[in-house]
Each structure stands twice: as structure tokens, then as C-alpha cells.
């Protein structure tokens, strides 16, 4: 059995196992075991990938397996990974692993909760391993739809509104995507051969410029909606604020990265000429995302809203880096995906835990929590510092590379945009430090808080895992850069060839 297909099979089997679980304990046991296996599998995958590359395998995609699905249309189930997808898979497995533990105390319809959560992760894993656009799109939609139930049933606040808004906006995104993908498919064989959905095959073809210009906005915006591209980001704050903890983690941590990854892998890679011609429009939009998201976060009082807006800002930076089309900026963007994924998962996990104790998410109503729950408090500070880009943690590496890469452009337009985007760092510092100040330091505002207990083992485990990952990337970014560097070359080469 191909290791990549196992990555999809294990979650499916976990779901099947949960169906037979008798009670809450068995449910979470099965989930934890299944996702631990998944974590180990992805560690093995990283190891296999690195050894294969060191052995001198220069193929663009490794571990490729191909099954014909619909023969006459030439749709395949094709899987394969390069460094970038390996990194994303590792990220996903870390986050779903920690997500299961942060949902340890879900009691209402627990079985359904874990099933939906794991189905969601199946979609995400499937998306990252696909190199056939049909399979990719299929998994993309599988990843999106469980969100409705997850937010609608287990969410809080105006959950029904948020769930509906999120689902419909993302599905509208996939409507655009559908047009883009079918358009690419129809132009995948200009010489009259069989049409194909295979990424690598399509990349060899030169699609006419006017067709590319028509399809690029569909594809890029289609993925961009999931990546919180301004002005299509509005689902994100509501959705994140209403979602239960693990869902916010998975969604901001991984699902939003599907947008960046897809924009990179499909829109930029397959439609390079249009990407070069039209990138200025989207650069302006993503620049707006970056700054607007940061400002939005400053004015929020709800912890989850703050983090949701900050996600808009940080995810905007991913698309920003990708659109800059220099190898440094793109590397930065990929690292930002990983870094932000882990960071935001940490934040949402902490917020969930704090909310579970104080029963409020309004920062004004809390204070001095550092004294009563020091573990959570310290973790929050570490996450915050990573978010505002403190050297030694992951955020610094990612943002540094994006901005340096962007500034490599000699023209005024790109440099001006870079400078504007950099201001977001300052604003980020404002809202992060403000939250830390009000929430964790200062006097305790409510006597009831004195009785709060610090994290339990199932809470400490995910948090320590996430913090270690942040630190590891921050201290040794070259490991990640080496992992993804080789795989970036084909895309960057293709984009730069036109200049």
C-alpha cells in the first residue's frame, strides 16, 4: 500500500472505528489512536522523502501512484508529494492530533463531533496528496462541508448564521474554482491528445495567454476565498468566532492554507503568464488583507475575533508572498503557512481553554490570569511573540523571508506595497501586546478566577507539541527551507521564464 493512500485510509478507518464506539471514552480513545498513527505516518513520510531526495531522486513528485478512475474523461486518482506537500501534511497531522486532545471534553454528540472532525481532516490530507485536479477538487469540497455541522451544532454565539455564511461563501469559491479547473482541463491538450487533469502533464503545456487571463481570476479567487483574500474574507471572523476550539484550530491552521497552497499549486503554476500579468491586482488585494486584518484585530474585544482578524492578516501575507514570484518570498510564504498554522492553532487552543475556565472571551472582563493559570499564560505569551515576529520563533523566519523576497523587486510598485505590508508587523505588535497586558497581567478582576485550575495533561500535551514546533522552525528554519526549496524551483522557473 502506498504511504500516501494510507494517509487517507487511516482517517477513514478511524471514522469507521468510532461508529462502533460505545461511549465517550472509547470515542476519544479511537480518535486519539487514529490521529497518533496519522502523526507517526507523516513523520515516516518526511523521513522517507528526505532519504529519497538524498539518494538523488530528482523527480518533481515522489511516491506517485496512479489509478484510472473515469477512463473516457481521463480523470485519475493520482497521488504524489513534493517537499511542500510533505510539509503541509506534517502540519496537518500535528494540528489534527492536537485538535483531538483539545476536544477531549466534548460531551454533546461526541461521536458525531469526532467523525465530522476526522472527515474534515481526511479531505485536507487528500487535498495535499492529490496531483490530479479532479481528485484535488473532490477532497477540497470534502474538507469544506463538515464545517457546517461542526459550527452549527457545537459552535457558540450566532453559530447558525456563521455556519451558513462560511459554507456558502466557501462553496461560492468552489464555484469559481470549478470554472477555472474545467477551463484548464479543456486546454490541457492543445495538440489534440486526450485531455488530462494531471498537474504535471498540464504544466508541460502552454495554454494561450488570453485563455490564461480568463481562467486565472477564477482559479485564484476561488482558492483565495478560502485563503481569506480581501474582500472575500468576511466568512472568516464570524466562522472562527462561532466554531468550537478544535474546529477553529483546524480551520485557521490548515483549511485556510488549502487556499494558499491551491493558489500556488494550481493558479500560479499552471497559469504562469496570466499570473505575471495580473498579479498586480491581487497584490493590492492581498496587501489590503494584510493591513486591514491587522487593524481589524486592534479594534476587537473578543479573543476569538482578534485571532480571526489576525489570521486574515497573516494568511493575506501568504498570498502576498506567493504573488511576489521570487524564490525567497515564495519560500517565506510556504514557511508562513506552516508557521501560522501552528501558531494560530496554539492561539485557538489556548482561547478555548481559557474560555472553558472563565466562560467569557471578552478581554475587558478578564485580567491577571497569569497568576492563576501560569501555564496557559506563558503559552499565550510565547504564541503572541511568535505572531509578532520575535527572532528565534517561527513567525520571524517566515515574515522576514517574505519581506526580503518582496523587496528584491527593483520597481517602485512592489517595493511600495512591501513597505505598506510591513507596517502590519507594527500593528500586530499593538494588538498582541495589548491582549497580553489586559488579559494576563494586571490585577485579577474577578474573585471567582482565583479558583481556576491550570491545564490538565490532555491540555498540556497539545500545547507543548505546538510550542515545540514553533520553536523548532524558529531555531532551525534551514531544515524546512531544505525540505521545500527543491520543490519550489519548477514553479519559480516557470514563472520567471516569461520575464
Amino acid at each position: 500500500m502506498n504511504i500516501l493512500s494510507l494517509l487517507v485510509l487511516v482517517p477513514v478507518l478511524t471514522v469507521a472505528a468510532i461508529l462502533f464506539a460505545k461511549d465517550n471514552k472509547q470515542t476519544r480513545l479511537f480518535s486519539a489512536v487514529g490521529m497518533s498513527i496519522q502523526l507517526i505516518l507523516s513523520a515516516i513520510l518526511v523521513y522517507m522523502y528526505v532519504t529519497e531526495r538524498q539518494a538523488g531522486n530528482m523527480d518533481q513528485m515522489l511516491f506517485v501512484k496512479d489509478f484510472v478512475w473515469f477512463e473516457s474523461l481521463n480523470f485519475h486518482y493520482t497521488v504524489g508529494v513534493d517537499g511542500i506537500s510533505v510539509a503541509m501534511i506534517a502540519l496537518t497531522s500535528v494540528i489534527i492530533f492536537t485538535g483531538v486532545f483539545t476536544s477531549w471534553e466534548v460531551l454533546n454528540l461526541h461521536r458525531e463531533f469526532f467523525i465530522s472532525l476526522i472527515i474534515l481532516s481526511t479531505g485536507v490530507f487528500g487535498f495535499f496528496i492529490s496531483i490530479d485536479l479532479f481528485t484535488m477538487f473532490l477532497f477540497y469540497e470534502i474538507a469544506v462541508i463538515p464545517m457546517y455541522l461542526l459550527i452549527g451544532i457545537w459552535g457558540s454565539g450566532k453559530k447558525e448564521y456563521s455556519a451558513m455564511k462560511l459554507t456558502l461563501m466557501l462553496m461560492a469559491g468552489s464555484a469559481l474554482l470549478m470554472v477555472g479547473l474545467l477551463g484548464i482541463y479543456m486546454h490541457s491538450a492543445p495538440d489534440g491528445g486526450p485531455l488530462t487533469m494531471n498537474l504535471l502533464e498540464i504544466a508541460k503545456v502552454k495554454i494561450p495567454l488570453d485563455v490564461q487571463k480568463f481562467l486565472f481570476p477564477f482559479t485564484f479567487i476561488g482558492f483565495g476565498i478560502l485563503g481569506a483574500l480581501f474582500p472575500f474574507h468576511t466568512w472568516s471572523p464570524d466562522g472562527h468566532a462561532s466554531a468550537p476550539t478544535a474546529v477553529s484550530m483546524l480551520h485557521a491552521g490548515v483549511l485556510m492554507k488549502l487556499g494558499g497552497y491551491g493558489a500556488f499549486r494550481v493558479a500560479m503554476y499552471l497559469l504562469p503568464d496570466a499570473a505575471n500579468e495580473l498579479s498586480w491586482i491581487f497584490l493590492i488585494l492581498t496587501g489590503l488583507s494584510v493591513v486591514y486584518g491587522a487593524f481589524g484585530a486592534v479594534f476587537q474585544k473578543d479573543l476569538k475575533y482578534i485571532n480571526a482578524y489576525s489570521s486574515v492578516s497573516h494568511c493575506g501575507l501568504i498570498l502576498f508572498g506567493i504573488l511576489m514570484v521570487t524564490k525567497t518570498a515564495m519560500t517565506g510564504a510556504i514557511i508562513q503557512m506552516i508557521s501560522h498554522g501552528i501558531m494560530t492553532a496554539l492561539f485557538f487552543a489556548l482561547i478555548g481553554m481559557i474560555y472553558g475556565r472563565t466562560h467569557t472571551r471578552m478581554i475587558n472582563e478578564m485580567g491577571g490570569l497569569m497568576k492563576v493559570i501560569p501555564f496557559l499564560g506563558v503559552a499565550y505569551v510565547i504564541g503572541g511573540l511568535a505572531s509578532l515576529g520575535l527572532p528565534g520563533l517561527s513567525g520571524f523566519v517566515a515574515e522576514m523571508m517574505i519581506f526580503v523576497g518582496s523587496y528584491q523587486h527593483p520597481d517602485v510598485f512592489h517595493r511600495t506595497l512591501t513597505i505598506i505590508a510591513i507596517t502590519a508587523i507594527v500593528i500586530t505588535a499593538v494588538y498582541i501586546l495589548r491582549v497580553v497586558g489586559i488579559l494576563l497581567l494586571g490585577p485579577i478582576k474577578n474573585d471567582h478566577y482565583l479558583e481556576l485550575k491550570d491545564a490538565k495533561w490532555w491540555e498540556r500535551l497539545p500545547i507543548i507539541t505546538l510550542i515545540l514546533s514553533i520553536a523548532a522552525i524558529g531555531v532551525a528554519p534551514f531544515l524546512l527551507v531544505d525540505l521545500i526549496g527543491f520543490s519550489l524551483d519548477p514553479v519559480v522557473e516557470k514563472l520567471l521564464m516569461i520575464h
Partner: protein, 474 residues
């Protein structure tokens, strides 16, 4: 004429025999014996469905009036499967006290309409087509009025018969124009006149379009649909919205491709407009419905709009996509109707509000409903996704990207109201939910078959490839 050539009508002949069996049983049975006939009949029909898949020679009889090729065979088999599920799902309802005296009529009439559809699909000229169409329509009007003690049901019957009489008139006018120009009613001969079309031909085409649009209930010819669907018994509604619609869509597609292929530049524009209207209006109305039967009626109008996307490309992939989508649609819609029927049989509840909290009391039914609605909305991994994707692929083949965009956005809108039902079942709470219940054996089997269909069809690529191969030889 030899027996072998008559065997080309095997599907129809077997159905006639089945209808006769039901009639004779009606004559010779007394009182309560009739109930025992339900399992026997379903068993017989099951055998018929299997017989349908036996190898069959192809050819024409009656001087080209009746045509049978692989494509027609597939279409008839698809209908067979659908009718089998409908029969299973109506067993429980037929056993009810008010229906059991004339349940055999139900079988006879239902089978008669199916015979009509089979002839219609196999028609080689406009006369056979029209005969089949009428045979398929008139008994269904009686069926719609089946619940004699309910005025709504009677209303449904009269509305259906009046609107189909009107549409048949329009259709006939179109056909008579074709006859006037070409002097023939055979599809092949009429088709030869399309090379240098006469302006009158375009007029005939418009009438033909209007007539057929009534039958498939395309906007703006859809107004009869909702009332009929709401008034008719659920089994009949599901039959109307699934089997009748699929059969009409099949023959519509085939006639457009076969006879009017040369006029494609004319009717493509009409189809474009009808598709946009049908999807959008169907969706907008579906959003506001509270009664689930009306809800599914409007959603099925919107679904018919999607079928037009397969027609518009006017190529073989399009025809394949239409058949494939119909197959998927039969399973998805019948699963949804099965749940609605089961709940309605047990409690009489039919509105979305009354479904609040259904998941707490009837988790399995709610899950089936969710899968069916996801399939209708085109969400993977259930089969509806594949059906829609292939329809879009065929439209992309013709370069209709904007139409695809409109269609997918409409699919998103449809997801909105499907999610409303899912919200009612899973999220809303209710003080008096539908209590937990177990429906009869046949209903459960019918639902299980539908769900299996929803799950499996997409994953088995060869199904699509098989249809494609057959269509290629068409």
C-alpha cells in the same frame, strides 16, 4: 414478422404481462387477499428489473417506428431501477386502510405509465413518440388523484391532466408543422430537412420546445408542478419528479440530438436561457417552501435546469452525462422522498419545522436525508457530485464557462436550502419531535438501495465508462 424481432420489445412485453397479472389478481381476489399481493408484485417487478439487464439484440421494427439500441436499453433499465424503488417505498402507504381496496389499480396504472415511457424512449417517429407520451401521462393523472377523499389530491389530478393536455396540444402543433414541411413523421426523414431549414421549421421547433418544457417542467412552463406535487400522494410525487422527469429528459435529449442536430445553433440559445431561468427560479422558489413535498418539487425543477447543461453541448459526452446524472438523481431524490414518505406515513408530518430535532429521535433517517440532500446539492463524496461535475464537463466542452459559473452558483444557492433542512434535523431543538419509529421492510429496503446507490455509483468509474461506450455507438 418473426418472434425474434418482436423480442426487441422485451421490456414493454414483460411490463404488459406484469400489468395483466395485477389486473387478473384484482378480478379473482377477495377482501384482505389484496394485501398479500404487494410482496408478490414487488418480487415480480424485481425479476423484471433483472430481466432488463439480460443481453438483448438491437434493431428496428414496424418499419422504423420502434427503435432499440444500447442507449435506449440503458435508459429503460435506469427507469426500471427507479420504479422498483418507488414501488418498495409505496408498500407501506398502500397498506393503509383507505388505500387497500384499490391498491391494485395503483400497480396497473403505474406500470401502464412505464410502458408508455418505454415506448416513448424507443420511438423512431413522432407518432410512436406521441402515443408513448400520452400513455405515460394520462394514467399518472389518475394516480395523482388517487387519494379520493382528499380534495388536494383531486386538485392535483385535474391540474396535471389539464396542463398536460394543453402541453400536448402545443407539442402536436409543433409536430404537425414538421410534418407539413417534410411530409414525414419519421425522425430520420424529418432530420434530412434540417440541412436547409425553413423558417417554419424554427416555429415548429419553438412549439416542440414549449410542449416538452411543460413535461420536464422547465421555467417558465413549471407552474403546474408545485401544486401537483404537493397534492399527489408521496409515492406518486416521487414517481412524477424522478421517473417521469428522467424519461422526458431522455427523449427530449435524443430528439434534439437526432432530429434537430443540424439546428443546434438555434436551440442552443433557447436551452441557455431556459437553463438559467430554470435553475434560478426553481432555486428561488424552493428557498421559501415549508412543505417538504413542495420543497422537493421546486428543487427538482432546479435539477432539471442542470440537466440542460448536458444537452447544450450537443455531443456524446453530453448525452452520457444526462443519462449518468439521471441515474444518480433517481437514487438521490428517491432517498429523500423515501424519508419524507416514511415520516409522513407514520406521523403525517410534512413541513420542515416538524422535522426539528429529528436526529435525536430518528438518527438513521436523518443521516439518509442528509446524504440525499448532499447528493442533490452535489457535495462529494456522494454520487451527486460526480453527476454534476460531468454535466459541467460536457458544458465546458462547448465553451459555456459563464453558464457553468451560473450553474455552480445555483448549486451553492441550492445548498443553502438543503442546509436549512439539515439544520432543522440536526441543530434545532423541538419539544414534540417525530417519535422514534421503524418503517416496514420494503420501505427500509428501498431506502437502503437508494443510499447504496448514492454511495457507490461515483466510486465505480466503469459505470460512467460503460454508458459512454454505449452512447458512442449510438
Amino acid at each position: 414478422m418473426q418472434i425474434e424481432t418482436l423480442l426487441l420489445m422485451r421490456h414493454e412485453m414483460v411490463l404488459v404481462i406484469i400489468a395483466l397479472i395485477a389486473l387478473f389478481y384484482e378480478i379473482f381476489s377477495k377482501g384482505n387477499n389484496k394485501q398479500k399481493f404487494i410482496p408478490i408484485f414487488i418480487g415480480i417487478y424485481f425479476i423484471n428489473t433483472i430481466i432488463g439487464f439480460l443481453p438483448q439484440s438491437e434493431g428496428t421494427i414496424f418499419g422504423g417506428m420502434f427503435v432499440l439500441s444500447g442507449v435506449q436499453l440503458i435508459m429503460k433499465n435506469v427507469l426500471n431501477i427507479g420504479v422498483l424503488i418507488v414501488l418498495m417505498q409505496s408498500a407501506g402507504w398502500l397498506k393503509k386502510a383507505e388505500n387497500k381496496d384499490n391498491m391494485l389499480e395503483f400497480f396497473v396504472l403505474l406500470i401502464s405509465t412505464q410502458i408508455g415511457m418505454d415506448y416513448m424512449i424507443s420511438s423512431g417517429d413522432f407518432l410512436m413518440f406521441y402515443l408513448g407520451l400520452e400513455l405515460a401521462t394520462i394514467p399518472i393523472a389518475i394516480l395523482a388523484a388517487y387519494e379520493r377523499n382528499k380534495s388536494k389530491s383531486a386538485e392535483a389530478g385535474i391540474k396535471l391532466i389539464l396542463s398536460s393536455a394543453l402541453s400536448s396540444g402545443i407539442l402536436l402543433f409543433g409536430i404537425s408543422i414538421f410534418y407539413m414541411i417534410s411530409g414525414s413523421i419519421y425522425f430520420d426523414e424529418v432530420a434530412t430537412f434540417m440541412v436547409n431549414p425553413n423558417p417554419l421549421m424554427a416555429l415548429g421547433l419553438v412549439f416542440f420546445f414549449a410542449g416538452m418544457s411543460f413535461k420536464i417542467s422547465l421555467v417558465p412552463f413549471h407552474l403546474w408542478t408545485a401544486d401537483v406535487y404537493e397534492g399527489a400522494p408521496i409515492s406518486v410525487t416521487s414517481y412524477l419528479s424522478v421517473i417521469s422527469k428522467a424519461a422526458a429528459a431522455f427523449i427530449f435529449t435524443m430528439i434534439l440530438f437526432k432530429v434537430f442536430g443540424q439546428l443546434a445553433y438555434l436551440w442552443k440559445d433557447i436551452i441557455y436561457v431556459l437553463a438559467v431561468l430554470t435553475m434560478t427560479v426553481g432555486n428561488l422558489f424552493a428557498m421559501r417552501q415549508q412543505n417538504l413535498k413542495r420543497f422537493l418539487a421546486f428543487s427538482s425543477i432546479a435539477q432539471a435546469g442542470f440537466i440542460l447543461l448536458g444537452i447544450i453541448s450537443a455531443d456524446k459526452i453530453g448525452l452520457t452525462a444526462v443519462i449518468y446524472f439521471a441515474l444518480v438523481y433517481i437514487f438521490s431524490n428517491l432517498a429523500a422522498f423515501g424519508v419524507v414518505g416514511a415520516v409522513s406515513n407514520f406521523s403525517g408530518k410534512e413541513t420542515i419545522k416538524e422535522y426539528n430535532g429529528l436526529y435525536k429521535t430518528n438518527p438513521k433517517l436523518s443521516l439518509v436525508m442528509m446524504l440525499a440532500l448532499f447528493s442533490l446539492a452535489g457535495i462529494p463524496p456522494v454520487a451527486g457530485f460526480f453527476g454534476k461535475f460531468f454535466l459541467f464537463t460536457s458544458a465546458a466542452q462547448g465553451g459555456y464557462y459563464w453558464l457553468i459559473l451560473i450553474a455552480v452558483l445555483n448549486a451553492t444557492i441550492s445548498l443553502y436550502y438543503y442546509l436549512l433542512v439539515i439544520r432543522a434535523m440536526f441543530i434545532e431543538s423541538n419539544e414534540t419531535p417525530v417519535p422514534n419509529f421503524k418503517s416496514d421492510f420494503f420501505m427500509r429496503t428501498g431506502i437502503v438501495i437508494s443510499v447504496l446507490g448514492i454511495f457507490i455509483i461515483g466510486f465505480i468509474g466503469p459505470i460512467w465508462d460503460y454508458i459512454k461506450v454505449v452512447v458512442d455507438s449510438f
